[in-house]
């Protein structure tokens, strides 16, 4: 126990050291303009983010991005899980559904975005791209979670006279929940990429819009601030869903 704790402390310490070095390097490059004007010191970026007069801008953009993200993520989540459940319960359709979702995944979202803009409109494209990325990850996670039920549990429920649906409800689905939660964690950053890409193609507002505008107008601190915000959102989502995954693994394994 103590050994595990000290190993953990070492790994946290190393992590902090790594991040510290990274930030110091960033600051040095920025202060001395080692990579030119487009690389500001991190202190400038933080000062920019801290200025209250810019908060309405950031919170509007962040709000729009998060709204699109949550909507797309939830749609993709349910679509992915339900499709994988259907594929599991209706084996004849599984190969077809597997191939379809792999095909959807193979199309680069950057190529799909213009089509979606025309088809769905500027407002819905970020959510749609987020939903597509989330769908695929959750389809794969749910499929593999359902397929990996341990044999002795399946044997037991068969001998007890459980129908396929009962086995699904009592066994396969609960056993798949940790894997589904792991998929949910992996899907979050992918989903955020979908939203940002969707916003680049002309959404009315959002972090992606901020990034594109700042880039085109050479507003370097604004650009870096927007990117930093994106990273923070992504990390927070990943962390929160990682915690959720730990809870599920604890409960269902």
């Amino acid at each position: 126990m103590r050994k595990i704790r000290s190993e953990r402390a070492v790994s946290i310490l190393l992590g902090i050291t790594g991040i510290g070095l990274f930030l110091a390097l960033w600051e040095t490059i920025g202060q001395f303009r080692l990579l030119g004007l487009s690389w500001p010191p991190i202190t400038d970026v933080l000062a920019f983010l801290q200025d209250p007069s810019r908060w309405p801008l950031f919170s509007r953009a962040l709000g729009a991005t998060l709204e699109a993200l949550v909507l797309g993520y939830i749609i993709g989540l349910f679509a992915g899980v339900l499709t994988a459940m259907a594929a599991y319960l209706l084996p004849p359709f599984k190969p077809g559904l597997d191939r379809t979702s792999a095909f959807i995944h193979a199309v680069p979202s950057i190529a799909l975005a213009p089509l979606l803009i025309i088809f769905l409109g500027r407002n819905s494209t970020p959510s749609a791209l987020a939903a597509l990325s989330t769908f695929f990850v959750l389809y794969v996670a749910t499929s593999s979670g359902l397929a990996s039920t341990e044999r002795q549990w399946d044997d037991l429920l068969r001998v007890l006279g459980a129908s396929r649906l009962v086995r699904f409800r009592r066994l396969n689905f609960p056993a798949a929940l940790p894997t589904i939660a792991s998929g949910m964690r992996l899907a979050a950053p992918a989903s955020l990429i979908g939203v940002i890409v969707g916003e680049w193609f002309g959404a009315p507002r959002g972090i992606g819009v901020l990034i594109i505008n700042a880039m085109q107008n050479f507003q370097i601190p604004l650009l870096w601030s927007a990117v930093l915000l994106t990273v923070l959102v992504s990390l927070m989502l990943f962390g929160a869903l990682g915690f959720f995954h730990t809870l599920m693994a604890e409960r269902f394994r």
Binding site: Q152, R158, V159, L160, R170, P174
Partner: protein, 278 residues
């Protein structure tokens, strides 16, 4: 009912446990072949026959890979014979499984980790779509000595306690047939002995027709009315022994010279598969 005898049980005539007891499980002339991944065929059982009378406890004793688990899986409806017939009370095993009249415990306890002890014991009721008989669930938890652990999760329990839960779960629907596939095989010797003593006590109270698969001689001898020694491949019967000890059996039976003598006999039969065939 037609009395069916395999070629090997003709060599060793099998006296029935109670002369009038009807046949509960009959395996007649069963051959089971498995197709291996590389396309070859493996014959796990060939022309296998055995019968269990109602209310008897029969142990299949044999080394691993002798096909004893295959027999249990056939009776459990988890496998279908390539040739021959398996029947429980004259019906195909799948019918008994579908009407929730089989009880089973495996070497791996197969408890669902997300359910606590009580919910695991209640599972057969839920699977059967029946109302949970809380009283019966509690009685069984008490019977296997787990009172006070109703809300514990399987991972909080010791190996022996998990197997107790599995036994309670196997009995909860009052099955017509109880199938035990090395239920204590993963336990240490001390716990295993204790579990055998407990199972003997529980079984003596209910006397459900039971098929036990095991590779432990003393376990078979202490628990069963009849021990069938098998050898592999393909699996066949090399020795059948009717256990003379009266029930309920006390643990000190295991210290008697008769127990040791029979134990040696069975061990010999295990060691020299063809020996007792003469």
């Amino acid at each position: 009912m037609k009395k069916m005898r395999g070629r090997l049980s003709t060599v060793h005539p099998v006296p029935s446990v109670g002369p009038q007891a009807p046949t509960a499980i009959s395996v007649s002339e069963v051959t089971k072949k498995f197709r291996l991944d590389d396309g070859r065929e493996l014959t796990a059982l060939e022309g296998m026959s055995l019968e269990l009378t109602t209310g008897s406890f029969v142990a299949l004793l044999g080394p691993s890979g002798c096909g004893k688990s295959t027999i249990l899986r056939l009776v459990a409806s988890l496998e279908v014979p390539s040739k021959g017939v398996v029947a429980i009370n004259g019906q195909p095993p799948a019918e008994l499984a579908a009407s929730h009249r089989l009880g089973v415990a495996f070497q791996d306890h197969a408890l669902l980790p997300w359910l606590d002890v009580r919910a695991n014991v209640e599972l057969p009721f839920r699977v059967a779509g029946q109302a949970v008989d809380r009283r019966r669930v509690q009685d069984l938890i008490d019977l296997v000595g787990l009172a006070g652990f109703e809300s514990a999760r399987p991972k909080q329990l010791s190996g022996g306690m998990r197997q107790r839960v599995a036994i309670a779960r196997a009995l909860v629907l009052q099955p017509e047939v109880l199938l035990l596939d090395e239920p204590f095989g993963a336990l240490d010797a001390v716990t295993r002995r204790q579990m055998n003593i407990e199972l003997q006590r529980i079984w003596s109270e209910r006397r459900i027709t039971t098929l036990l698969v095991t590779h432990a001689v003393d376990e078979a001898l202490f628990l069963a009315d009849r021990v069938i020694v098998m050898s592999g491949r393909p699996g066949r019967v090399v020795r059948t022994l009717d256990v003379p000890f009266a029930r309920p059996r006390q643990p000190d039976v295991m210290r008697s010279s008769e127990f040791h003598r029979l134990s040696d006999e069975l061990t010999d039969a295990l060691d020299s598969p063809s020996g007792s065939l003469g």
